[in-house]
Amino acid sequence: MRALYFAWVRERIGKTEEELAPPENIKTVGELMSWLSGQGDNYAAAFANIKSMRAALDRTHVKHDALLGRAREIAFFPPMTGG
């Protein structure tokens, strides 16, 4: 699954996007964030406050308990500040 990172999440991880291959037991968006936070200091810094993080599956906003299912793209970002 393709992961995209935006704003300070992107800066802290140091990547714009990457291909993820999480273990089979990772079923939800929240579980994926917890797993990612253990993938290195940069990920730990990006996912330090998981509660405030936002996510989108295939370009649709989702909550943390959403199932990853067969989504092809997941994006992680801070609360939006447009307008």
Partner: protein, 153 residues
């Protein structure tokens, strides 16, 4: 009833007056046109520029979704919603919302709804570049979330 909906996400500056005029051109049935333009402030001289990052594809889709929702809530004749990304200097426009309807109440309400939702649902992030050379990401405001929340439920 079908409102004309125009959504654009672009780097270039837009002409608010021209965009608004496009909604009423050749029409004699529109009685109300509400135009809102969000501009980049200089924060008392402290801000050199804003850098706006967006999620290409999703940004357009989210704005369109909000516009379609607005058209379902109020009898509108047309909507224009434009949001810029990239480097924006103080004084330049960032966002434009135009709502056209037969009467003013719907146009005012729809323009406000569009802005309230766009701020919290459309994937854009602002980074400040200060005149001192430093800067940082703008934090989401609780009052923006509260403004969007009041339309729900």
């Amino acid at each position: 009833m079908s409102a004309r909906i125009l959504v654009r996400v672009q780097k270039e500056i837009f002409d608010a007056a021209a965009e608004a005029a496009g909604l009423t051109e050749g029409r004699s049935d529109i009685g109300a046109l509400v135009t809102f333009t969000g501009l980049c402030r200089d924060e008392g001289g402290a801000l050199a520029a804003l850098e706006i990052e967006h999620y290409p594809g999703m940004a357009e889709e989210e704005i369109r979704r909000v516009a379609v929702d607005a058209a379902a809530r109020w009898p509108l004749e047309g909507i224009v919603a434009i949001h810029r990304f990239g480097l924006i200097r103080p004084g330049e426009p960032i966002v434009l919302v135009v709502a056209a309807s037969t009467h003013r109440a719907e146009a005012f309400a729809a323009a406000r709804f569009l802005m309230d939702y766009l701020k919290t649902e459309a994937p854009f992030w602002k980074k400040q570049h200060l005149a001192t050379g430093t800067g940082g990401w703008v934090e989401a405001k609780a009052e923006d979330e509260a403004a969007a929340q009041k339309w729900r439920g």
